[in-house]
Amino acid sequence: MRPLLILLLLFYSITPAARGVYQTPDDFIAETFSHTAPDNTVLWLRGDVKREINKILGHDYATLRVRYWGNGKRTAWVLEEIGKEKPITVGLVINENRIEKIRVLEFREIRGWEVRHAFFTDQFTNAELIPGHGLSQPIDSITGATLSVDALKRLAELALYFHSLTPYADANAAT
């Protein structure tokens, strides 16, 4: 009986914490550029860019422009994509045309929240964009979180593509 009660307590203590704000975008940017103040500008999503976004996401991006922060060969992005029904807010850092870091900043759904854990997001480290707009390394999915996993994969590709359009993209980065 006691193990069952403990399990129930654990279940009810874990479940409510699954959906929530884990880090604000401001804090994410501050943490990413802790030593140097980044430049902050916008990338307009028009014309060919819009078409490429549609190829990656399967639909238009939610806004007409995205803001990014850059310094040296690094850019940081805060992007959103819908998992099942609600958007997932994700912070991404691109360095020398590769993913340096992915962090789920806010998760709004009941299921699929496992994607916020490092055991999943660490798979994206050093991934780059290959011709045809796929990631250069496979990302293992999570049972029961397929839609959230797919959303993060699309955002990773999108951030790499956006980075390639900025002055911070490394034209000489080793592949």
Partner: protein
Amino acid sequence: MPMQTQPPKKRSRLFSLFLWHRYIGLVAAVFVILLSITGIMLNHTSQLSLDHTPVKSAWILSLYNIEIPEPVSFKLETHTLSQLGDQLFINETPVGESASRLVGGIDAEGMIVAAFAAEVRLYTTDAELVEKLSLKRRMNTPLSAVGKNADGHLILLAGGQAWRTDTLFEKLIPVNPAAATFIAANTTLNNAVRKQLERHYAGHDITLERVTLDLHSGRLFGAFGVVVADIAAILLIILAASGVWLWGLRKLKARLHHRHPRKHPRHKHKAKYPVTTNRE
């Protein structure tokens, strides 16, 4: 000799069961059809887009007793920016949700700036979202208004301090708030517009999927509907049980008749009406 009337023969239990089965079936038929139709709809929610289709019928929405909050609106040069609950509208077009309160709106550089306590949003004049931007870290206090100075520059007001910026929001320059004009909130909306916003607000969270689920369970009609749905379920169980029982008895009778035809005739003929005999 007086006529003797034979007492009517008792109806067999089997026949009684059959009659009950028939009448329950007739009553339950309505529920079977309703549950089947709603069940099929729920099985194909995505294909039918039931979860993305808001309900617009005033009658159905009235069943949910949704409380409509007071709107907050700002009259801009050619548009009206309104918030009803957490829903934002440009004129009558819904343009998104915000849990934060709408504190101001203004036209700037050909765009519409909607200011909330914790963020600003930029829209085109066609109500397309340009960007959502949090200024919390840069301003430290919640936004309280947005306006323009005499030169047409965008002015943000927060905690008594004003900042001049543009629609790129790259720089925030402290300025004197007295030099800016801020549009005050206007809670009086045109009746027709208000009705439209209220209808959209009420229907936003109530989708066809929700209504179908509530119809399937009976909850659409409150506690009474739930009781009726429970009774229908019990009737269906009785129907299934009586049907199996009748089928089983028929099978048994047929088997017994096959083995002992005289002892178990297939049909026992019973008098439908009292039998009257004259004895002399």
